[in-house]
């Protein structure tokens, strides 16, 4: 799809005027000029997300309601134009990057809370609201929205659902899909369907969950009904530093075996620990190899006891130092450091490849050891964080972005890491999604039949393959 423009010389240089073509004119009719971006600079500003991938759309529409989305999707369908929904654009796997031009549907202007229903402990929201904004609103009523991904300050609910986002607390509370009660979805045909508790009229099996984690390829979410979780009475955050990963892993096992379900168990390796201290002024001891961050929640009567059990596990496994964060300020500080991990990478190397395999919990120790070995093999620094309670790891492979050779090595290291995860009974992605990044690994984890089944459902829901084409599956189309 070509953008037609004329070149107009001016005194200062050359200015490229874009004369809106038919498609753009129709879109302007739908959303209004102030909600449509087609200047090449604007397109460049939407040509990226949190990953290393880039790709320019042909036009960006910022709809204000579902009806506009429906009309835009119909226009896209009629013209065989690719279309891609975008939340905050913080995907780490390239999910929000358009590979085939087309229309990017930005949901930043659809972010209202439509209904807070405390009787039924649920809320209805538009997809563009940020996770944190929702949490702030719910706090007043003593509720939370349980999924709390590291990027919750900015990532949107629509994005959370499309990626089935996890979060620090998903060990106890589950992923986003466990908290989605119903959806309003605009299908590729322009038809609007309702699922779950938003659908009051139909006999159906569970149709909601399959849209969770579908990365914008099954349909475009325009409304979500979410489950609310009561705010817990008390939270205790504990930290311990160990001299080796083995001890940290054993401490984790012990904690879990005491029938405690902590809300979070985070392991940070030595590279991360040092960087957090250096760039984030994190108050972490610098002499350890593995930092373990544990959070327990519960009723006031039981929390001291729970925390004592955790501290005992720390001590029993040779923790160099251990402490309890008692007040909100201390607790926030520890968590801020953890949530900022993605951002510090920039200081460790101009390029970083962050993966997110997950393995069964009993295989974490082995996985981290193997990953460290791979780092040594390729001569690359690998930062490792791990959600120890649920087996999701984040090996961050650092490399020099100016060196093609280093990048190739990083990719090879990344490949090996994912293969090991699969061999240990795990998955190539615990929370970042397949996007563009892990397309080539899908055949390693799924059989031909499995992939064939996924394709068949995709083709039922989106026969002309216009929705976020090029993500999750490698499918041939005319786009």
């Amino acid at each position: 799809m070509e953008l037609k423009g004329t070149i107009k010389p001016t005194r200062k240089g050359v200015v490229i005027l874009v004369r809106p073509n038919d498609l753009i004119k129709r879109l302007i009719d739908i959303v209004g000029k102030e909600n449509l971006l087609f200047d090449i600079i604007d397109l460049e500003s939407y040509a990226f997300d949190g990953s290393m991938y880039t790709g320019r759309p042909d036009v960006v529409a910022l709809p204000e309601n579902m009806e506009q989305v429906v009309q835009i999707v119909k226009v896209a369908g009629q013209n065989g134009v690719a279309i891609l929904p975008r939340g905050a654009g913080t995907s780490l796997s390239g999910g929000a990057v358009p590979l085939f031009g087309g229309i990017v549907l930005g949901f930043s202007r659809m972010k209202r809370i439509l209904e807070i229903d405390l009787d039924n402990e649920r809320v209805i929201v538009e997809p563009g609201i940020s996770n944190l904004d929702l949490q702030k609103m719910l706090k007043k009523y003593n509720y939370i929205f349980a999924p709390d991904p590291a990027s919750m300050k900015v990532c949107t609910i629509g994005g959370n659902i499309a990626e089935n986002a996890g979060g620090m607390h998903c060990l106890k509370y589950g992923n986003t899909r466990d908290h989605v009660l119903g959806l309003e979805i605009v299908m590729a045909s322009g038809e609007v369907i309702y699922t779950g508790d938003l659908d009051n009229n139909y006999a159906s099996p569970n149709l909601t969950t399959m849209f969770c984690g579908s990365e914008g390829t099954f349909g475009i979410i325009t409304k979500a009904m979410l489950r609310l979780t009561r705010m817990t009475e008390k939270v205790g955050t504990l930290l311990a530093v160990f001299e080796n990963l083995e001890d940290a892993g054993n401490a984790v096992s012990e904690i879990l075996s005491k029938a405690l379900v902590p809300t979070s168990l985070e392991i940070l390796n030595d590279v991360i620990t040092r960087s957090l201290i250096k760039y984030m002024n994190a108050d972490l001891p610098s002499n350890g190899v593995a930092t373990l961050l544990v959070e327990v929640e519960g009723y006031e009567v039981e929390l001291e006891d729970q925390m004592a059990k955790v501290m005992a596990s720390f001590t029993a496994n040779n923790a160099i130092t251990s402490r309890i964060a008692r007040d909100q300020k201390e607790r926030s500080k520890l968590w801020e450091a953890r949530q900022g991990v993605n951002g510090i990478f920039g200081h460790l190397g101009s390029g970083q490849l962050v993966q997110d395999p997950s393995v069964p919990v009993d295989k974490i120790g082995q996985m981290m050891r193997e990953t460290a070995r791979i780092g040594e093999k390729y001569g690359l620094i690998i930062c490792q964080t791990c959600h120890a309670g649920d087996g999701n790891l984040h090996p961050g492979i650092m490399y020099d972005a100016n060196s093609k050779e280093q990048y190739t090595k990083a990719e090879e290291a990344s490949d090996e890491i994912l293969k090991i995860a699969i061999s240990l009974g795990g998955s190539i992605s615990g929370e970042h999604g397949i996007g563009i990044e892990k397309l080539r690994f899908m055949p390693l984890q799924f059989s031909e039949n499995d992939l064939g089944f996924m394709e068949s459902i995709k083709r039922i829901l989106d026969p002309t393959l216009i929705l976020n084409h090029g993500k999750i599956l490698n499918l041939q189309s005319n786009i």
Binding site: E191, A203, F446, N449
Partner: protein, 397 residues
């Protein structure tokens, strides 16, 4: 397995592996049979419509092994034909449990419960069995063995079809293996009972309690009639029951809170272990003549109104049961005329109070239709299912 059930099919099969299931499906499809999957067949007849083409029954009761228990990962992988009872007894050895309670646990299979979206007694606190599935293997009408999800709690690789069969009543595919996320066994599970004079009063008590910070997993009420004998109180009209669970210190503390409420409302109280309580409930439930049953759910905002309505309506019920936590109710009548009468009265307000009623025929979801037509183009999987039949039931154009 009921002889009566088996007699309704041309042939019954009892495969003992996923591959055998697949082979039977292939035979069925190639011969244009109607294939009806079932666990132990306890509920299959409830959904059997008119037999249009020859039907074969696919009973998965022999597919009942525990494939893997991973205590540290808090997961278990089983074959779909295992009964809930057997699964729970295996898990007990590891101090784990699947927090799902249902009627007839010794007969009901995991696959069957998923297909029916069986209601969890403690649904309020523990959701439904379908919410615990993180990995699934199923056989499609085309005879393919498909895997979705996996063994890890966090898994977003590819699409998530682990819940697609929940509530599909065996019409989309046949589940053969299921990986479930588990909880550790709670230290203590207790049910606190209140002797309430009527449901309206009981609901007020429960409203007070639900505002408290409580480790409650279920709030319900039921009426005591001749056939429904749970002898916790003498001369009781109805009972409100709150099930709580957690660590010893928490449960003790919360039982005291609940006791205070009994004093506030001047009603009798009793405490019983939850497993005993639910066992009793389950046994009683099974003895009720369920022929004339009206069940439904209501938007919790309108519970007080519905409770009042049902209290006024229902003069000669065998039993009435409310799950206040989820807005669900069940009424058992002794006569059909009573049932019809109640149905009419409740239907009048069903839109206003945002209700689902079990006896109302629902149209089939258009998305389900699209998927069913493509996945099972020969319509060989349970084609005469009373809820999802594309031939017999309502289809929205």
């Amino acid at each position: 397995m009921d002889v009566l059930v088996a007699s309704r099919f041309s042939k019954m099969y009892y495969p003992s592996s996923s591959e055998e299931v697949r082979d039977i499906v292939n035979i069925g499809r190639e011969n244009d049979f109607n294939i009806i999957p079932m666990g132990n067949g306890t509920l299959v007849c409830d959904y059997l419509g008119e037999m249009v083409k020859p039907s074969i029954g696919l009973c998965l009761r022999k597919l009942n092994r525990v494939m893997e228990v991973n205590p540290r990962n808090l997961t278990v992988t089983v074959e779909a034909g295992i009964t809930l009872f057997k699964l729970q007894s295996v898990l007990r050895n590891y101090n784990l449990w699947l927090p799902v309670l249902s009627t007839n646990e010794s007969e009901r299979t995991i696959g069957g419960m998923l297909a029916e979206n069986a209601r969890n007694y403690e649904k309020y606190g523990h959701k439904n069995i379908g919410d615990y599935v993180i990995g699934l293997e199923f056989i499609t009408a085309a005879g393919l063995i498909i895997k979705t999800g996996g063994k890890t709690v966090k898994n977003v690789a590819g699409y998530d079809f682990t819940h697609l069969l929940n509530g599909s009543l065996g019409t989309l595919a046949i589940a053969t293996k299921v990986t479930l996320k588990l909880n550790p066994q709670p230290e203590v599970r207790k049910t606190f009972l209140y002797n309430i004079p009527d449901f309206v009063y009981g609901n007020n008590v429960i409203s007070t309690i639900s505002k408290m910070s409580l480790a409650a997993v279920s709030y319900h009420m039921f009426q005591l009639t001749d056939s429904f004998e749970l002898n916790y109180f003498s001369n009781a009209k109805a009972v409100a029951a709150i099930s709580i669970e957690g660590s010893k210190s928490v449960v003790e503390n919360h039982l005291v809170k609940l006791s205070t409420v009994a004093g506030q409302y001047r009603i009798g109280q009793a405490v019983i272990n939850s497993c005993e309580y639910w066992d009793n409930y389950s046994t009683q439930y099974e003895h009720i003549d369920m022929k004339y049953k009206l069940a439904g759910s209501v938007n919790k905002k309108y519970l007080p109104q519905i409770i009042k309505l049902i209290t006024e309506l229902v003069h000669y019920p065998i039993g009435v049961f409310f799950d206040i936590g989820i807005g669900y109710f069940m009424i058992y009548f002794s006569k059909e005329s009573d049932l019809k009468n109640a149905e009419v009265k409740i239907s009048q307000v069903s839109v206003k109070y945002q209700m689902h009623i079990s006896t109302t025929r629902l149209e089939i979801h258009p998305l389900y239709q699209s998927i069913k037509i493509k996945m099972d183009n020969m319509n060989c999987l349970f084609s005469n299912n009373t809820i999802f039949s594309l031939e017999n039931c309502l289809i929205k154009e």
